[in-house]
Amino acid sequence: MTNGWVDMKNTDMMLIMGGNPAENHPCGFKWPVEAKRTRNAKIISVDPRFTRTSAVADLFCQIRAGTDIAFLGGVVRYAIENNRIAKDYLVNYTNAAFIVKGDFKLPADTDGVFSGFDAKSQSYDKSTWNYAGTAGGDAAHAASGSAPPAPKLPEKVEFDLTLQNPNCVFQLLRKHYSRYTPEMVERITGIPREQFLKAADLFTSIRKDGDMKKAGTIIYAVGWTQHTFGTQIIRTAAMLQLLLGNVGRAGGGVNALRGHSNIQGATDMAGIFDNLPGYLKVPTPADTSFDAWIKRITPTSSKPAPWDSFNYWGNTPKFAASYLKALFGDAATKQNGFAFDYLPKVDRNYSWVQLWDDMYNGVVKGMLAFGMNGVAIGPDSQKNIDALKKADWLVVGEIYPDETSEFWKSPGITQGEMKQIQTTVYRLPCAGFAEKDGSFTNSARWLLWKNTALPTPGDARLDQAIVAQIFLKVRELYKKDGGKFPDPILNLTWNYTVPTSPSLTEVLKEVNGKALADLEDPATKQQIKAGQQLPGFAWLKDDGTTSCGNWIYCGSFTEAGNQTARRDPSDPSNLGLHPGWGWSWPANRRVLYNRASCDADGKPWDPTRKQVWWNETTQKWVGNDVPDFKVDSKPKDHMGPFIMNPEGVGRIFAPLGAFADGPFPEHYEPIESPIDNPLHPAQTHNPVVKRFKTPDDKYATPKDGYTVVCTTYRLTELYHYWTKNNPMNVQLVPEPFVEISAQMADEMGIKGGEKVKVSSIRGEYIAKAMVTKRIKSMMIDGKKVYQIGIPIHQGYRGIKEDEGKDARTLVNLLTPTVFDPNAYTPEFKGFLVKLERA
């Protein structure tokens, strides 16, 4: 989230889309409700079904799963056409005025793809996706020798503050989305034109007549991410928010709701293979040295010449050096590039779906599965089951026996087949969440320490104890037997009081980082002695005198103690900042980009919601929140508020390699879709999305008889694949079900409670029908299309499953193995099925 849960109480308008917070984040949903109660804020709910969020919304639109970009693009068009945009914000805080290179082409002009597409490799040459300007990219190109280096952003960007230049970002934006007319939105999304216009009008009404006081927020969850264009949906939302001047504002922002208690923390700590902690980019084999790596991943500022840019990622060398010092301690020296060679180099895609594909193809031989139920969380569960059959070993750390650890007796496997499976399965009983301490990082980026509530039962052990004992054993083996490259293992720092079960307090201290030599701030003369905890990432050094496991968490465990354990509920500003409650990254800042909450002169857009402001007397940025800015940068210097971008401004146009599939989001159909893309039928799908090739990877078209759009989701009553082992949750939702519209049920003669079989080209799912008015049939591009929804929670291992009372099928038997090319998230939310009586 750019903002935070509590901040939602400050909003005037909420677009909740690709998420169902009332059901899946009920505790956080108190804040949208608070905004409704105290500010008369409005909720617009856009969802494939009428959900419990829709039940408390002011306006509901039923959208076809996977057409969110069309909807949002339509709203962008509406905002521009009706002048419901934040003009000053747009000109000063975004790249709307930047001029794009002349050879850049939009999909409207290039058969549904952006310029630079190579159909053979299904990838883009992104060199045209760049700003016009001087130095930077071209200079670098000339200087280098044989190998063509990656193009870079120009140092001085051409711009047009009148936004009239036909190649300025704003005009390109307008041109690109001019095709997303209400009629087109209706054809693609199935939302009737009038209903769409109502929603577009309501959401943009906060900028009626140029008023900048109000703020609107966009709230989403995995309904957006789990598509083959998920990242681009979120991009569209971000662009819309920039257009409306909502980013950085209290009650504004683009807010991802995290479905698990610590998903944000997992992401921050390198949850994805191409990240290191703190979103440092992983080294690749081309990075031959620390310096080469740093050069590649450290951006240089790129902006209009009269403006200033903080370019905070310019500090990358400090973050990277301190990270390596935390990993390898004394073995990391300036001379050896901070033991850069010890870091694994990532040569290709190792994302989740890819790993299972690798196991299926015999490349991956074994798996440690902790805190996840790999078979059930799919996609294409059958492929995952088949992959595990080919593995040599599987270790599952869980609190219940789950589908993954019992893949060898999944329904359909015969006794004979079972004997053929040679995979050795080890089940390790783990501690549950209440049996562990540690910190959770919530959706709002708040780190909150929790204590152990219960002792671990029986033989169950803490995760860190299991990992530590495996590590120590491996290290022992390397010590004894040597090996190809034992150094990274032997030199890894492991300075815990109890090495076999590291205390998480010690781990957090290590993550926060400490001074390795006496340090002094040249400005304030504040001193930090060697060995002391660092108070914040501003202290990090690139010379090896600091260590820090994750720079964005620096400040979470200081000399003052564990900041994440703070529980001061006070909120002097009444903006829901609660600065003494836990600790928020970065630097205990609660709303990101909060410089943008002020006009160019540094005065808050809305004086009743003052977050930060420029203090003329002290010549400093001050505020209720921690300013997300260079504190002494004068407004007249025109430093951009989006300090993490080299431009200093928000990116309406995302240049170069920022995204795999285009600098502007374009609507593409899900891989399985009932229609051809009405925008460009020849290019229906996201052009860079690759399909997998194992016999288990099948993809259907309506011609194969799969005509019903299916989406999957979660229920309030159950938590993932876990609580089906708890009688309380099972009592609330005793059986799996499939939600189908009353019209469809009438047509097929299905009554509520009757068993139906949902089949995709990959598998079958059997459950009882829930016939409801909450899903309606839709007209999609002139075709009548039915949409159904299935909650994901049941499987073949749980209370009811063990009783044999349901069909014991997994929803993800249906879903396809394809993923988003940017975030590698699989497509769970829109695919084709057929439905019949079971």
Partner: protein
């Protein structure tokens, strides 16, 4: 259920005075349920089961998100889900109403109950069942206009929401209130809750598309200790059959009122009448010989 230290102002099936009546400054507790902000998350259902240690029961999928068709003797708090199409514009509403004992000021269950002390009303307005005194007659089921008391078929004792008497007597809010994530549930004095509810209803009328929003505090049962804010107070029935004008059934009133007095008078009057008749007329044949001709007159 609980034996909390609360003073009692009404007792079922009770002869004579009530110990707690008039012994305490009067204040009435009240639960406010704002159905317009309820998200049907069922936290209140779970909290109710957890706090009261209620046993788990079997449920069956029934084409709804609702946990079960109605409350049970061991499931006192149930959110009712109803899909409703608005007549005004054809738009869909998914109504969720937390259903439980309404804690009526004039409780029909208590009126109907013949067992001394099986149902009491504390001075704070909570209506509580004392299963130790319950005789299992089920008259409370008949007396309740909200279909709340439920019989345990094994023990023949009736159970329902206690408004967490044990918590309230210790100055805590009921478990459901504590668990509600959106703040659609509030707890406090009846006056405060009515005030809050009225303001919310006004807000809904003025700022949302609900011109008929209002507060449900039915006078037919003297007002309730659980009040609702409804999107459309003119149609409480759409919320899973919330009665628009609930009363203690008139037959119960007739039975407990006029019939009781009439019956008592008739019975006592009959006994007296017969006694007087005997004094006046005596037996039909005074002399033994009148009916026994084999004997002679002395």
């Amino acid at each position: 259920m609980s034996q909390a230290i609360l003073r009692v102002q009404k007792i079922s099936g009770h002869a004579g005075s009530v110990p707690g009546e008039g012994t305490q400054r009067e204040y009435t507790v009240c639960k406010l349920i704002d159905t317009t902000t309820c998200i049907g998350c069922k936290a209140c259902e779970v909290a109710c089961m957890e706090w009261n240690d209620l046993p788990f029961g079997e449920t069956v999928f029934d084409n709804t998100y609702q946990t079960m068709p109605e409350t049970r003797w061991n499931y006192w708090n149930l959110i009712l889900f109803n899909e409703h199409v608005r007549e005004e514009d054809g738009s869909l509403m998914w109504l969720m109403r937390k259903n439980q004992c309404m804690h009526c000021a004039e409780p029909g269950c208590l009126a109907a109950c013949p067992a001394d002390g099986a149902i009491v009303q504390y001075t704070n307005g909570i209506v509580d069942f004392q299963q130790a005194n319950c005789i299992g007659c089920g008259y409370c089921i008949t007396g309740c206009p909200f279909d709340i008391p439920k019989m345990n078929p094994k023990t023949h004792r009736v159970f329902k929401c206690t408004l967490c008497t044990d918590r309230v007597s210790e100055g805590l809010e009921p478990a459901c209130i504590k668990s509600c994530p959106t703040g659609c549930l509030h707890f406090g004095s009846k006056d405060d809750m009515l005030d809050l509810a009225g303001k919310r209803a006004k807000q809904l009328r003025e700022h949302s598309n609900f011109p008929h929003a209002g507060v449900y505090d039915p006078p037919g049962v003297g007002g309730t200790g659980v009040i609702y804010v409804l999107h459309d107070a003119t149609k409480p029935e759409i919320y899973g059959g919330l009665p628009s004008d609930p009363h203690v059934p008139w037959t119960v009133k007739l039975w407990k009122g006029p019939l009781k007095w009439l019956g008592n008078v008739a019975m006592v009057g009959g006994l007296i009448g017969l006694f007087v008749h005997y004094l006046r007329f005596g037996p039909k044949a005074r002399e033994e010989e009148d009916i026994n001709p084999s004997g002679g007159k002395p």
